[in-house]
């Protein structure tokens, strides 16, 4: 997958690029809006990571220009302002996702990966990771044939984690998709919910499926 990172702050651009490269992405970087438009014209990217505050032409203007040229490349907006209106404005202008600064690197990588895979999602109503299954039609979860009782919230959490199986899920991402929070409530809600979910799906079973990546987020996968 090829990713374009548009960020004027050199250090941020550098570690974002390194992180994405270490995950196996091919990464191009540029530091202003006009270069970004030129790069997007000459190379087809799978995802564009676009900072809103850029010198000269700002990120929102780049975004609108791209959409006007019928370029549908998935775009992840970054912003230091983190205003709700800005988020809405960005999404309305055609962005696919929005991440306020300061963000967690793992979160950014997870989102880029999610955007890159968009459209290729598993359409089957039954999600499966090892011997854990989740039927999204009947909302039933089973592990090793044994029924698992889930509350509505736990179900949403498990569905999200299973749909992202094998990929790291950041805390903010979970709050957004499972709780619809677009703010960081500053509680350990996610951690506590994940702990409870882990007790339900992992206690007494091998291998363990739900893993914590400290300082980064959570990961559901069969192999440790």
């Amino acid at each position: 997958m090829r990713v374009l990172v548009v960020e004027d702050e050199k250090k941020t651009a550098s570690f974002v690029r390194k992180a994405l490269q270490s995950e196996g992405f091919a990464v191009d970087a540029c530091h202003n809006g006009d270069d970004a438009l030129a790069a997007a014209k000459s190379t087809p990217f799978d995802v564009i990571v676009l900072d809103i505050m850029l010198p000269g032409r700002d990120g929102l203007s780049v975004l609108r220009q791209l959409r006007e040229r019928r370029d549908a490349t998935p775009i992840l907006l970054l912003s230091a302002r983190g205003e709700v209106n800005e988020r809405v404005e960005g999404l309305n202008a055609g962005a696919d996702d929005y991440l306020p600064k300061p963000f967690e690197l793992a979160e950014l990588v997870a989102r880029v990966r999610a955007l890159g895979r968009r459209g290729g999602d598993n359409k089957s109503p039954v999600l499966r990771v090892a011997d854990l299954t989740l039927d999204t039609l009947t909302r039933r979860a089973q592990r090793g044939g044994a029924e698992i009782e889930l509350t509505a919230r736990e179900y949403r959490l498990l569905e999200f984690l299973m749909r992202s199986a094998g990929r790291l899920c950041g805390r903010m991402m979970i709050l957004e998709k499972v709780w619809d929070y677009d703010f960081d409530p500053g509680t350990n809600l996610v951690d506590v919910y994940v702990r409870r979910l882990r007790e339900k799906i992992d206690a007494g079973f091998e291998p363990k499926l739900l893993h914590t990546v400290r300082g980064a987020g959570y990961l559901l996968k069969a192999q440790p």
């Binding site: 941020t12 570690f15 390194k18 270490s22 709700v84 300061p102 677009d182 409870r196 300082g215």
Partner: protein
């Protein structure tokens, strides 16, 4: 004693003294004339005539004068009363609105003008402080992003020893906490500057409270704190769904954080005096009466003994209060002798 009463007394005094002087003058004049006319007229005649004049002409004149004075002082001091009333309404948030001027160019008009100029200067300083906080919180985000990113990058190094890894992880935890503080500050700074728009819509508060109840139970579980829902009437308010959820979660989080192991939290939603009233009570060490009025202040931590025991950004209740006030509601906190701390939020009902 008001200026008006004082002026009236002085006026009465001046008039009475004038009346006495005029009376004395008249008496001597009449006495003189009588002496000329009759040579040996009795002195009483002069006194009678003078007192006649003083009582029949002078006193009514004094009374009339006093009434006029009473009216005049009222008229003269009316701008002062108006100014007082207008100044009472001056508040940190409406400094930009100048006091109404009469435009007559008199002393009071000039006073109003000077006062308005002072308000403008105050408004300027307030704005500068607000802008400063706003810029500061923006400026902090870029280096924070770099710090978080580089620490996370360092953590990816497989060759780190467990001790080094632990150090980086703890550093990252603190960085995330700093990031939350900066986030909270940005929100409050923008709210102060009137830059946060609420997306108002009819919101079923009971549904949010039930959701929040479920989250609170989960949050309280590790400390074995019992959470109860004591009534949840179906009530609709006009508000911003996200902000109201943030409000409820902040309060629930506080009720759990400042609790004791095996303690309990009780929340409830009911209609009270035509408003939706949400209450949340928790056991714990309680709050001292001198701390109570300050708990909504930014970064206020109460008594230092347990301020370090609880991790948080110190802005939760300030944000909660802002959300309530932005919804034209009220928020109160009380701490009883039973060490039960109760927060009561009232929000106006949606009247369609």
């Amino acid at each position: 004693m008001t200026i008006r009463t004082r002026l009236t007394f002085w006026y009465a005094g001046v008039l009475t003294v004038s009346l006495l002087i005029i009376g004395l003058g008249t008496y001597r004049e009449i006495d003189e004339q009588l002496r000329h006319a009759h040579r040996r007229a009795p002195a009483e005649h002069a006194i009678y005539e003078t007192s006649d004049m003083v009582f029949q002409g002078g006193l009514p004149a004094v009374a009339l004068g006093l009434l006029g004075g009473w009216w005049l002082t009222r008229k003269a001091l009316a701008p002062v009363s108006k100014l007082t009333e207008a100044i009472t309404r001056v508040h940190e948030r409406n400094l930009r609105e100048p006091l109404p001027r009469t435009g007559s160019g008199d002393e009071f008009d000039r006073l109003t003008e000077v006062f308005n100029a002072m308000l403008a200067r105050l408004d300027d300083s307030f704005n500068r402080v607000r802008e400063f906080s706003l810029h500061a919180s923006h400026e902090l985000k870029t280096p924070l992003t770099v710090l978080c990113g580089e620490t996370e990058t360092a953590l990816r190094d497989e060759s780190l020893s467990p001790a080094e890894r632990e150090r980086f992880v703890s550093q990252l935890d603190e960085l995330h906490r700093l990031a939350r503080i900066v986030d909270g500050l940005t929100l409050l700074a923008r709210a102060d500057a009137g830059q946060v728009e609420l997306k108002l819509e009819p919101v079923g508060l009971d549904e949010l409270v039930r959701d929040n109840f479920a989250d609170a139970q989960i949050l309280a579980d590790p400390q074995h704190i019992r959470v109860e829902l004591d009534g949840c009437e179906p009530l609709t308010v006009r508000g911003d769904r996200h902000r109201l959820r943030q409000l409820l979660l902040n309060l629930a989080d506080n009720a759990v954080k400042y609790n004791q192991p095996q303690g309990h939290v009780t929340m409830g939603l009911r209609r009270a005096d035509g408003a939706a009233e949400f209450t949340i009570a928790n056991t714990g060490t309680g709050i001292s009466p001198e701390s109570l009025p300050r708990v909504f202040d930014r970064f206020y931590r109460g008594d230092p003994a347990h301020s370090h025991a609880v991790d948080g950004c110190g802005l939760g209740l300030s944000i909660a209060r802002w959300i309530v006030l932005a919804h034209q509601g009220t928020i109160r906190i009380g701490s009883g002798p039973s060490k039960l701390t109760t927060v009561t939020v009232r929000l106006p009902l949606d009247t369609k």
